[in-house]
Structures are given as structure tokens and as C-alpha cells.
């Protein structure tokens, strides 16, 4: 950081010393020193350089990735800050998203700059936060997190997800920040949050041929396949998402009410069959549909135990269905989902966490590509050792309907204040038809290190 500020100071000095007289030069040197001191007080540069590699258990290397992500904070005044977080990512193997993905799912201003196949630059966050009257206003590209659950999303759908590594990337790396106007208005002890999101970006879905591609259609040779581009809504005003959350603390409970009028970030895959001279053609048309999401959250600590949960109802969700019963291959229904989580701290230096996630559709349909009631559980154990410098962690995610899931044992060590290292496994299990089981052959060993500054 000193070097950066030093360069800024030298730059100011160079400009000012173009003036002629020695006295002026002296005065300007003093001025530049004062400016430099003010910069030091107002500008904070932190960040991280991260390296991580993943090797599949059959020996194939999956990624060899470097990330440089500085975070620059400028304190304009006591009430106003500007935050800028650029990211450079270099993956020497280029297997997770081979080549240059077209980024159809991402709105133009939010896209990454792809420089060659392995290198990309991105503005992760760029926002101004200020106080207007009693309202806290954050305007710009940012991340908004709702909900109480970890990993299982009912209300945490404000920002889309980068599925480049399925769900295995760091929480921070797997979110796609959006250009958003975010107002937080205190109302007595509660807070009303209002969101306007003109950014129409959706989930980043790896293209066919990627390591974790989700679109893998295997048809007989006699059937032709025509996949159309994502029909993403593009009008920043007409297609905006809007959200409101009222949250507060009441008699020991943290409670919130949430409402989100949005395009679901998961595309609805419409199918159309057509017979022609060259046989049958299946046209796949991924589109996005609007829905109202209404829900709430709760949490409270009871001795060593913390109870937390969230629930939500989406008025319209769309699921794959048999084309025999639904001509467009899609079934429309409402969906109720909830997560109940328990965190237990009864063993010293250890946290044990359990979550149950249930998704219930309003009504079933013949040939539906999922059960009407779908159940997933997670089980997490984390233990700190050696005065918190060594951490051992394992999480199990298991779908009860399909009997598939994954486990992620991991150990990390803090070498010093700046450096940490880690290693672990990501192990999928279950049949091909399951969300997790489809990646059973993608088990991998992960090793990494991070230097923070």
C-alpha cells in the first residue's frame, strides 16, 4: 500500500514541480507532502493473492489458478466511502470454462474481460456508500446477501451464482455482484431495505464441454439438436428486479420479512419438436421467467445451540417435464421452500452444524423431472486447534431423494499473519441422475495458499 501511495505522491509532485521558481517548487513540495499525508489517511488498499490447484483423483489436473484481488477503499468524508474491487484471474489449464465463453447469461456492464483463454479481468465491486438523512445508501456493483442458511438457498437469490465450479468455489468467488441501488432505512428498532437491480445478469452456467457443465444432452443420431442462445431479459428498467426486506430484533429473536420480484436466475428450458426431411429436430430454448418470492427468516441462540431458519414461497417456478405430457417440456407450479439449521457449540473449540432443506411444489405432474417434495441435509464439523492457527473442517451435503451428495474434508493452517495454506478433497457420490451424482467422476484433491495484504 505504501508503494501505491508513494507513487501517487510522486505523481502529484511531478505535476506540481513543472512550475518554475525554486520557491514555488519548495512550496509545492510541501503541498505534495500534505496531499500525500491526506491520501494516506483517506485511501486504504488491502487485498489477497490466491493460488489454488485441483487435481482429479484419476490424475487429470482440473485447475491451476492465480487470483489477484485488491480492495481499494476511499473515505471521501465521515459519511461517504467509495469501494473498488477489481479481480484478475489466470487459470493455466482453462478446463473449467474452456476458450472464451460468450457470457450470454451476464449483462454487458457486468461481464468479465477475457484476455486470451486463461486470463480474465473483472470489476467485482464498485460502489459508493453514503448516508442521506437517516438512510444508508449503497449505489453500484455490489453483493446483497439474504437468508440464514449456508449453501442451501431459499431467500439468498438476490445475486446470481457463478457455477463455473458447480458449488465448490469459495462463497465470495461463486457470487456474481450486480449493479444495484440499495437503501437501508431505519424504522425505530427495525431496518427496511429496498433494492432496485437494473442489472439483468443471471447464473453463469458453464458451456457444454466444461468440467462442470450442466447441459449434457445425449440424443440418438436420428434426432437433431438445436440449442438456442439464452433469451435473457435485457431492458434495465422494464426487466429490473425489486426487493424489500424488513428486519429487526424482537424478544431475543432476529426476524425478517422478505419480498423479491425478480427473474429467476435459472433458465427455463423450453423444448420444441419438429419433424422434417432430415428427421426429428429438438429445439432447446433457455428463457427466464419472472416470479414473486415472499418469505422470512428467524434466528436465536439457546445456550450452546443456535437455531436459524428461512422460508419462502415462489409463485411461479418451472421444472423439466416429459414432453409427452407438457408439450413445451416445462411444468409450471408454485414452490415452497425452507431451511432449518442448528449450530451447536457444546464441544470446546468446535462447531457442529446441521441443516435440513425441503422444497415442496404446489402440485405434481406426470413425467416431472423431480419429486414433488425434495429433501437435502447438510452436516458440518469445524474444529480449531493450536490457538486457532490450525483448522479442521468437513461438510457433507446429501440429497435424501436421490441418495447422492458430496463430502469436503479440508485442513487449513495459518502460517503467519499474511499467509495461509490448505488442502482437502471434494468427493461426489451417487447416481448420474442426481444433481451431485452426475459429477461422481470429478472427485478432486485441492491445494492452495493465500497471501493477504
Amino acid at each position: 500500500m505504501r508503494k501505491v501511495l508513494g507513487l501517487l505522491g510522486v505523481g502529484v509532485l511531478c505535476v506540481l514541480t513543472t512550475l518554475s521558481s525554486a520557491e514555488e517548487v519548495e512550496e509545492n513540495e510541501e503541498l505534495s507532502v500534505r496531499l500525500f499525508d491526506r491520501l494516506k489517511e483517506r485511501v486504504f488498499v488491502t487485498g489477497a493473492v490466491k493460488f489454488e490447484t485441483a487435481i482429479e483423483t484419476d490424475g487429470d489436473a482440473q485447475k491451476f489458478e492465480f487470483i489477484v484481488q485488491p480492495e481499494i477503499e476511499i473515505n471521501v468524508n465521515d459519511d461517504t466511502n467509495i469501494v473498488f474491487v477489481p479481480r484478475m484471474r489466470f487459470d493455466a489449464l482453462d478446463e473449467l470454462e474452456p476458450g472464451r465463453p460468450d457470457q450470454d447469461e451476464i449483462a454487458g456492464p457486468s461481464r468479465r474481460w477475457l484476455i486470451g483463454d486463461p486470463l480474465e479481468l473483472e470489476v467485482r465491486e464498485l460502489f459508493v456508500e453514503t448516508i442521506v438523512g437517516d438512510t444508508y445508501l449503497t449505489v453500484g456493483k455490489q453483493t446483497v446477501v439474504w437468508g440464514e442458511s449456508d449453501g442451501l438457498k431459499v431467500l439468498d437469490v438476490v445475486n446470481p451464482t457463478d457455477l463455473r465450479e458447480f458449488g465448490l468455489a469459495d462463497f465470495e468467488d461463486s457470487r456474481i455482484p450486480l449493479w444495484t441501488v440499495n437503501a437501508e432505512i431505519p424504522i425505530k428498532e427495525a431496518t427496511l431495505q429496498l433494492l432496485w437491480i437494473p442489472d439483468t445478469s443471471k447464473h453463469n452456467i458453464p458451456e457444454m464441454g466444461s468440467t462442470f457443465d450442466l447441459v449434457n444432452i445425449d440424443l440418438p443420431d436420428s434426432i437433431n439438436l438445436n440449442i438456442e442462445n439464452y433469451a435473457r431479459p435485457r431492458d434495465g428498467f422494464k426487466d429490473s428486479d425489486f426487493g424489500a426486506r424488513l428486519s429487526g430484533f424482537w424478544k431475543g429473536w432476529n426476524l425478517s420479512l422478505n419480498y423479491f420480484y425478480h427473474y429467476d436466475d435459472t433458465p427455463v428450458v423450453y423444448l420444441a419438436l419438429a419433424a422434417g426431411d432430415d428427421g426429428v429436430t429438438v429445439t432447446v430454448s433457455p428463457e427466464y421467467e419472472r416470479t414473486h418470492l415472499i418469505g422470512g427468516t428467524f434466528s436465536k441462540a439457546f445456550g450452546d445451540l443456535t437455531l436459524r431458519g428461512e422460508l419462502g414461497y415462489s409463485t411461479k417456478k418451472y421444472f423439466d417435464a416429459s414432453i409427452l405430457f407438457d408439450p413445451d417440456g416445462v411444468h409450471e407450479t408454485g414452490e415452497f421452500g425452507y431451511v432449518i439449521g442448528l449450530d451447536w457449540f457444546g464441544i470446546r473449540d468446535t462447531m457442529i452444524s446441521f441443516q435440513l432443506f425441503q422444497s415442496i411444489l404446489d402440485h405434481d405432474a406426470p413425467g416431472l423431472g423431480r419429486d414433488r417434495v425434495d429433501n437435502t441435509i447438510t452436516f458440518l464439523v469445524r474444529r480449531s486447534l493450536k490457538n486457532d492457527t490450525l483448522s479442521v473442517y468437513n461438510i457433507l451435503v446429501h440429497n435424501l431423494n436421490h441418495g447422492d451428495g458430496y463430502v469436503r474434508p479440508k485442513i487449513s493452517y495459518q502460517v503467519n499473519d499474511e499467509m495461509s495454506i490448505w488442502t482437502g478433497f471434494d468427493i461426489f457420490y451417487g447416481g448420474d441422475s442426481g444433481l451431485f451424482g452426475q459429477f461422481d467422476d470429478k472427485d478432486r484433491l485441492v491445494m492452495g495458499m493465500e497471501w493477504s495484504f
Binding site: 466511502n81 470446546r348 490457538n387 492457527t389
Partner: protein
Amino acid sequence: MNLAIGLLYIVSSVFGAPNLSNETGVPTIEQIVENVNARDVGVQASNTIRMTLTDKKGKELVRESVGFRKYFGEEKRSLNFCSKPAKLRNFGLLTFDYEGEEKSDDSWAYLPDMRKVRRISTDDRGATVLGTDFTVQDMKNESKISTVDYDYSAAGIETVEDHVCHVLEALPVSDAIAKELGYGKLHIFVDADIWILRKVEFWDVEGTHLKTITMHDVEEVDGIWTARRVFAKNHQNDHSTLIELLEIDYTTEIDDDTFTERALRRGIRGK
């Protein structure tokens, strides 16, 4: 999550100096305890703290935090953010400590990696804090003396760094409390002039000498006796922790709105 619990009680160790000696000049145990606990710690305090953790091989880890604490009647609210190292920047903890009430504290952690405020339990009073040699209860006491966890007896008068001290021996009131706190016995050295704690020796529940906490550079700040440095040495694993109070301000008004989930979520930038 221990890391999360950690910063919760990293607040300045502040010690008041009430003048409550009895008429005979020889205070009873009850008077010593009362004198220590009657100290003025100020209605509010803002502070900046550096913690240096040293392991038996000499490896050091340094953490810095910015903290705010304010009393709302009997209820104490505090908000602390980690400022260094960079990896932990903006990690924050908010707690409502219901002094003297039966109910547990309410505590929230802001986890910057997840961008989430998470409700946490701080009921394990014997858990160590942020990898330091202090427990949750050590920090929570702010060098006051518990009137419910221990039975006290006099153990003489000794000198600590040229300060005459009353020595109290504290034994947990039950085996359950001993196990919960992780201590089988304490020797508490109370300064006979200004009623601050100068040193505390700890033994574990098996009776083995566990650790020593000492207070240094005690001075008056805004009329409140304040220890600028607090040092803890664990004799069993040869690990130590030095807490240095870099800045302390008892006078600047802290807005009530500081102690909210919204402020916790905004992080250190808002401070």
C-alpha cells in the same frame, strides 16, 4: 467459530479507582470485592487494540481491532471490528451483555467471507478467545471479580511491581462451575491503593498451574484507571498473549445506532 467468538470480548481492560476503604483501614474480603467491582469504567469507551500472540517457538501473530462499548443501564453493548490482519478485516462482533440477568448474552458475528451476520452462542465461558490465552469469561469480566462463580478467602498481602496487593484465593462454588470456566483455583492480587487487579494466577481443574495474567502501564485516562498493557502467559503450552491499548477515549459520545446489526454489517468503513 472460536475465531468468531473471539473478538467479542476484546475490549479495553479498564479499571476504576473508587475510594471505599473501611474505617479500620483493613478491608474485609467483601469490601475488597466490592471496591474492585465498584470501579468507574465510564458509560462509554472507544478503543483501538493490538494483540500479539506468541507460541512456544517464538512465532508471532498480530491482530488489531477497533471497538466501541456503551452501558444502557445495566445492559452493556459492544461492537468490535478486526482491522488487521487483512484476512480478518471487517470481521465484526456485536454483543448485548445482560449484566446481572439470568438470560444469556445476545451475540452476532459478521463474517466478511460470507457477507453474513450470523447469530452465535457465547455460552461457553471457558472457550479461549481468538486464539489468545484469555477465555470468554476473562474478557467479559473486564477485570472485575465474580460474586457468583467463586468463594473467596484471604491469602495474605504481597507486592507486585512495587504495589502492595491484597491476595484473594478464589475457589469455584461447584465442580460444574469449575469445569465450565476451566479453572480449579485463582489467586487474585488486588492493588491496595487503587483497587485494580495487578495479577491473577490460574490453576486448572486438576490443580496444575495453568496461566498468569498481569496488568502493566496502569494510568489515569479521563479520570479512569486504565491498564495500557495486559499480558497472559500459559505455563502449560508456553503460549502468551500481549494486549496493548493503542487508543482509548471515554469521553466522545457514541451514538446508540452504533450497536445495531446494520452497523455490524457496514463494517469498519462506517467507523
